[in-house]
């Protein structure tokens, strides 16, 4: 299916760089962290942790969220027997919640089936598939970029605050320690 999409080369290059960029963008906060705090060993920890993160992230998204949605009427703390007294008066309320939950789960299920079917049907059309992939990639990259930028802001903010404190400490050392006699230790 060569040259099916006019001007494909440029767009495909764009997509390729998008995927690579969304992966490599993680280097910026790591580099800032390494430079500011001189802890290079975190690089290796994060690179080796990427595989376990990859391994459990779809299970987390699919299993835990679906389980949480399917147990949305279950407000117990998980402690056995301690909250078994609830009942009787609340039995009707429980049934209502169960119906609400079932409607929610059915909605979730149907929406996902519809969207998944649409995705697979669009897969036959090259241009639609291309734009669907582009939009999804852009959404994921957008989320990652926002997270990373905010995280970097927090690192820089912390560094500025501590640098200010250190400077103040250097000018008047031990100023924060209260002398029991009321005398400033810097004077003597």
């Amino acid at each position: 299916m060569e040259n099916a999409l006019p001007g494909t080369g440029v767009f495909v290059d764009l997509l390729r760089y998008f995927i690579l960029g969304s992966m490599l963008f993680y280097i910026f906060p790591l580099a800032i962290y390494g430079i500011f705090f001189m802890r290079i060993k975190y690089f290796w920890e994060i690179i080796s942790g990427t595989f376990s993160f990859l391994f459990y992230s779809p299970a987390y998204l699919n299993l835990l969220n679906v389980y949480a949605l399917c147990r949305i009427d279950d407000i117990s703390w998980g402690t056995k027997g301690l909250d078994a007294e609830v009942g009787g008066k609340n039995a009707n309320l429980k049934d209502t919640w169960k119906i609400v939950k079932m409607i929610d789960v059915a909605k979730f299920f149907l929406w996902n089936v519809v969207l998944g079917t649409l995705f697979i049907v669009f897969d036959s059309y090259l241009i639609i598939k291309f734009f669907v992939t582009l939009i999804l990639l852009m959404l994921f990259t957008f989320i990652q970029v926002i997270k990373i930028i905010i995280g970097m802001c927090y690192i820089i903010k912390y560094k500025c605050i501590t640098a200010k404190k250190n400077k103040a400490d250097r000018e008047t050392p031990l100023a924060h320690i209260k002398d029991p006699n009321g005398e400033n230790p810097n004077d003597g």
């Binding site: 390729r16 835990l64 929406w111």
Partner: protein, 193 residues
């Protein structure tokens, strides 16, 4: 945002020290996450409903930040809500790539009536069907079994292993595909076939 209204702030502490008592079983993890996910969703809904009631006059930027955060969280909630469908799409693309790049040589597609040809042409459909069955199974089991059930935990082990393998395979396929694209200066199979 109550933090900003009380004129306090959050800072990042890299050398903070805390002792935690982590969960040691999968049963416990399922129960804990159920509580955390549902609790945070309900809290989020409450904040979103009562957002306009409590507007701070002093710090106008706190409200702007709050609105940005609410928008961002709605956006990521939407992605989480449609996560099974989006994962199906990724799964579909990966399986198509594997079919085009690796299976074409294995099965004899030149023989139109052979068994290999039938398997080859329906490979992606079979995989999509298996994914759909797995998704349906997860929903069905989550409704009917609790996290204290032993059988349910075995199902969870099975599903999480399969999903995890799929994620690692997708990652490797994307990387190889991009490398191929750069090397041959050609279209990536994963994106455009």
């Amino acid at each position: 945002m109550g933090i900003h209204k009380n004129e306090k702030d959050i800072i990042f502490m890299p050398d903070a020290y805390a002792e935690v008592d982590p969960i040691k079983t999968v049963n416990g993890l399922m129960g804990q996450r159920k509580r955390w996910i549902n609790g945070s969703n309900f809290a989020f809904e409450k904040v979103q409903k009562e957002m306009d009631k409590n507007q701070s006059e002093k710090m106008w930027w706190a409200d702007v930040f709050l609105k940005m955060q609410i928008f961002y969280l709605n956006f990521s909630n939407l992605l989480v809500y449609f996560a099974p469908a989006i994962l199906l799409f990724t799964f579909h693309l990966t399986m198509s790539t594997i079919k085009e790049q690796y299976l074409a040589d294995v099965f004899q597609i030149n023989d139109p009536n052979g068994v290999g040809s039938i398997v080859f042409s329906t490979f992606v459909n079979i995989m999509d069907f298996l994914y759909a069955v797995m998704f349906f199974g997860v929903v069905f089991l989550s409704i009917h079994l609790t996290h204290n059930n032993k059988r349910f935990i075995y199902y969870i082990y099975f599903f999480s292993t399969v999903f995890g393998l799929f994620a690692v395979i997708t990652f490797i396929v994307i990387l190889v595909d991009i490398a191929n694209g750069f090397a041959k200066n050609d279209n990536c199979t994963f994106i455009v076939m």
